[in-house]
């Protein structure tokens, strides 16, 4: 089983995100970066499949600046076998489209049975990467899976996909792209021996020239959407603390306020 996991490094969910003074970019100074939350599920599932099958390779593919190596090392410490790192200034500032373009080109020459992505990257929140990658590689894609079962002959997968009000059970022939969401598994923590081993695993850098793509096709120049301006959302103010001597009185006052003041019930 050859399994590829597309992994992005993103700001930690607790990080405070602010635009630069001219509001055209995000100020990343002092921010802690981590592996994208949904990509953790993707890495974990890849490792579990490899363990169940008893053979195979899990390869991490990351596009990002130099600091992204930390998240790649985390995945290697969890148990992934090797990694490629698309690291070139030309790749920066892209959208899901131009990022998927570069990822697809890098993956094209590799062998794979399964490609895992996260459901969405929690920085740009685009939730497009997996499907666009599937399109570029001409593979079927299934988004937001919460269960993955490999067939006996390893040629097919049966997965569960979460939709509003239900779960779809879908069968697809491999190779295919899947995007992972919460509920799929419990990602493991890297072990100490894992961390030691990760240092010796192969991590191959890839530059723009290695891909045979032009500068116009990737990163900011190749993007189809572009942020003109960032702004902070309106601040929500603390409202009224509902008065009353007993819980019953508070409940009564709250019901009245919701009816007469807020007019929502």
């Amino acid at each position: 089983m050859e399994i590829i996991v597309c992994l992005k490094q993103v700001p930690d969910t607790e990080a405070e995100i602010r635009p630069t003074p001219d509001n055209t970019e995000i100020n990343y100074e002092g921010i802690k970066f981590v592996m994208n939350v949904y990509d953790e599920y993707a890495v974990e599932e890849a490792l579990q499949i490899k363990e169940r099958v008893g053979e195979g390779t899990v390869t991490i593919v990351t596009l990002g600046p130099e600091r992204a190596v930390e998240s790649i090392r985390t995945a290697l410490a969890m148990g992934a076998d090797k990694a490629v790192h698309l690291d070139d200034p030309a790749f920066g500032g892209g959208d899901a489209y131009s990022t998927a373009k570069a990822l697809a080109k890098a993956i094209e020459g590799m062998s794979y049975d399964i490609i895992f992505c996260g459901k969405q990257a929690i920085d740009d929140d685009l939730a497009q990467g997996g499907n666009i990658l599937g399109e570029f590689l001409n593979l079927p894609s299934i988004t937001g899976i919460v269960k993955f079962d490999l067939s006996e002959d390893k040629k097919k997968a049966t997965v569960q996909r979460q939709i509003e009000g239900g779960i779809e059970v879908l069968e697809v022939s491999l190779p295919a792209v899947f995007t992972a969401t919460k509920g799929l598994n419990e990602p493991r923590y890297p072990s100490l021996p894992g961390i030691m081993k990760a240092k010796k695993k192969e991590l191959k850098p890839i530059k723009l020239a290695d891909l045979g793509l032009s500068e116009e096709e990737v990163g900011k120049k190749g993007a189809q959407i572009q942020v003109l301006k960032f702004s902070l959302p309106p601040v929500r103010q603390a409202g009224t603390i509902v008065g009353g001597d007993t819980p019953e009185e508070k409940a009564e006052n709250l019901a009245k306020l919701l009816r007469e003041e807020a007019k929502v019930i």
Partner: protein, 329 residues
């Protein structure tokens, strides 16, 4: 021939609410651009739903019908929709940011090699007629004004419960155009084995107007009936924090927050929820927030329009009674 298109998502023969919300806003854009507002229905038997789209503002409705499209598949729907878009060349294509809407829009954008802004909370066109979208990023910590390359259609998916639908007008009759798509089995590539329903008849959290959520303060799954009862009298639905979901008290589909669902109801009641940054990411743009928590220092009170500092087990049951009383008046 350009046009602004809205993809009309439907389930069990009913058009999803977000479609009407998008039509309402897209109508303004169409007027501004001097283009026609069209809706697209894709499925096996969809023509019956066309008139409703007209009532909500669509001047023209494309009905793309084939037996092979009886249930949603990424491959089948992508082929049917992209082929029609390539033939008719709309300038803008809008979809609901639902599970299937996000899935379909991403695959179509990849195929047509066009830009797509996900989960937008506002749309407009600039003087040149280019789409501009406003979308939350970083789980709503910042908003971005997004612009598109000039390759068309410019695509956006729209968050449910944010835009306003028009009052339906049944006298508005749309032009209906039937399309027979060219969808082959090799376009579909995925077999739908089963669809397990979980929600019953209740609307999904993302479409609900009132949500009553319970967190770790609920103490156990056996206590959620008090929230169900409150939700019932309010015609709302029950949600949960991640702590409650991870404890196995509630299903994953009930989770509100960064790694669950993003919701925008008129009223969000948080009972026994502390208000972590990840929970707030999912419900912080609710129109009215109520917090019921016994800890006056709980961060949720900083975001709540109404706060009740008390034991939820003593507040929720009488609240249900009071609402019942008010509704009966």
């Amino acid at each position: 021939m350009a046009g602004i298109w809205v993809y009309a998502e439907h389930r069990d023969g009913t058009i999803r609410k977000v479609t009407f919300e998008i039509l309402g806003e897209a109508k303004k854009l169409a007027e501004q651009k001097g283009e026609e507002l069209c809706a697209v229905l894709v499925g096996a038997d969809v023509e019956g739903m066309a008139s409703k789209l007209g009532a909500y503002g669509a001047e023209r409705v494309y009905c793309v019908e084939a037996e092979s499209l009886s249930g949603y598949t990424t491959g089948g729907f992508t082929k049917a929709l992209s082929d029609l878009v390539q033939q008719e060349k709309p300038s803008i294509l809008l979809l609901g940011a639902t599970a299937n809407g996000k899935d379909l829009s991403a695959r179509v954008a990849g195929r047509l090699k066009v830009g797509l802004a996900t989960d937008c909370t506002g749309i407009a066109v600039d003087d040149a007629g280019t789409l501009q979208a406003r979308r939350p990023m970083f789980a709503g910590k910042v908003y971005a004004e997004v612009s598109f390359s000039d390759v068309t259609p410019q695509m956006a998916s729209i968050r449910p419960n944010v835009l306003l639908a028009l009052e339906p007008d049944e006298t508005r009759k749309p032009e209906v155009i039937k399309i027979t798509p060219d969808v082959k089995p090799e376009d579909i590539r995925i077999a739908v084995k089963d669809i397990m329903k979980t929600g019953g008849e209740k609307p999904d959290l993302t479409e609900a107007e009132i949500i009553v959520s319970g967190g770790r303060g609920m103490k156990g799954p056996e206590n959620y009936h008090i929230l169900e009862e409150l939700a019932d009298v309010l015609s709302g639905v029950v949600g949960a924090s991640r702590a409650a979901v991870d404890a196995g008290w509630r299903p994953q589909s009930d989770q509100v927050g960064q790694s669950g669902k993003v919701v925008t109801p008129n009223l969000y009641i948080a009972a026994g929820i502390s208000g972590s940054i990840q929970h707030l990411a999912g419900m912080g743009t609710s129109k009215v927030i109520v917090a019921i928590n016994k800890d006056p220092e709980a961060p949720i009170f900083k975001k709540a329009d109404y706060g009740v500092v008390d034991d939820l087990f003593k507040v929720v049951p009488p609240l249900t009674e009071q609402v019942k009383k008010l509704k009966a008046e």
